[in-house]
Amino acid sequence: MKKLYAVAALLSLLGLADALYLTIEHITGQSVRCTIISGCSAVLSSPYAVVAGVPLAMVGAAAYFAVFSLAILAIFGYPKVSGLFSVLVIIMFLVSLWLIYLQAFVIREFCQYCLLSALITTALLVVVLINRRSRR
């Protein structure tokens, strides 16, 4: 159990770094110049990259930070965090599915760092599923 949460904590740290990178790219606009190899610039400059004025990458960073915090609390035996942890990861997974859909069919550009985030969230979901099963 603790090992699983440790894995989750490490994964969420990776996700946090990834989302922070995307947030910084978004805010400073460094990559938002158009280049022959497109990708993150097209995705980050799209209207889907902002929700209610907040860069989506920043929301992602906050979510990873929350997952990390909950995983750490779970490792130290705080009760009642595992439910919250699972719900959060499931929501993040569903949002990631939606974002992949947007990249594939609406923006028609893939952003490798956004895909990395989706991969990390999927791994977190696997952790949640193993966790649920081992508890039974």
Partner: protein, 237 residues
């Protein structure tokens, strides 16, 4: 004690995340090209007084180039642009604003740099602007293409839309249609692209000021204004 350890870890990660975010997004000084003001002991315009990278030359682009403003302006801006590129569309009104503010002190040159595999209509847009240029209406078409970027970039066939613009600015439509696909237009775009490549242009908008590249992060109006002012000061006009 044990109960505070997780919170310390969480706080440490939060601190590291916010710290690195702050460090990487802190405002970049408005101008890395800030010239060292010539001191009284060094003669004006001496090479010592100007600690700037040397201006780049590159191969010539299409001739005559599309320019606005006097050729002897103290600040000459050369933009490599792609009409379909959103940041170029954002940069267009900024450059207009600078022209209003600085008037005759500024000369603007536009170079075609259509990013063909990325932007499906960029080449057609560049051709439309160049075809209009052959009838002396390059800037009129340039403005319409940028201002209506969102109207045409998602369309499947942009040619009728561009023809509408051509009519709007009073072009001879038959000649415009011929020129769109003509050699002269293709050669001009190719020449500008060649110049871009020789200057190391990788994306759009890429802006050169008196032969030196202006970093992309200095292109927002409030930063570009400072960069232009510094350039005017250093050229002594």
């Amino acid at each position: 004690m044990k109960r505070t350890i997780p919170f310390l870890i969480i706080l440490a990660v939060l601190g590291a995340a916010l710290g690195s975010a702050w460090y990487l997004t802190r405002t970049i000084p408005a101008s890395p090209v800030t010239p060292i003001a010539p001191t009284s002991s060094t003669a004006q315009g001496s090479p010592v007084a100007q600690q700037k990278p040397p201006a780049v030359q590159g191969v010539p682009g299409a001739e005559p180039a599309h320019t606005l403003g006097p050729a002897n302006a103290p600040v000459r801006i050369e933009e490599f642009g792609d009409f379909e590129c959103p940041p170029c569309g954002i940069f267009h009104p900024i450059l207009e604003q600078m022209r209003e503010e600085f008037g005759d002190k500024l000369q603007i040159t536009f170079r075609e740099f259509p990013l063909v595999p990325t932007h499906q209509h960029a080449l057609a847009a560049a051709s439309a602007a160049e075809a209009a240029g052959l009838q002396g209406k390059f800037w009129e078409m340039h403005d319409l293409l940028y201002e209506h970027q969102n109207d045409w970039k998602k369309e499947f066939d942009v040619r009728p839309i561009y023809e509408g613009y051509a009519k709007q600015i009073g072009l001879d439509i038959d000649r415009y249609k011929r020129d769109m696909n003509g050699d002269l237009v293709a050669q001009r775009i190719f020449a500008d692209g060649k110049r871009g490549h020789s200057l190391g242009v990788k994306g759009t908008p890429t802006v050169f000021m008196n032969g030196r590249e202006v970093p992309f992060e200095n292109l927002p109006a409030e930063k570009l204004r400072v960069v232009i002012q510094n350039e005017m000061r250093s050229s002594g006009k």
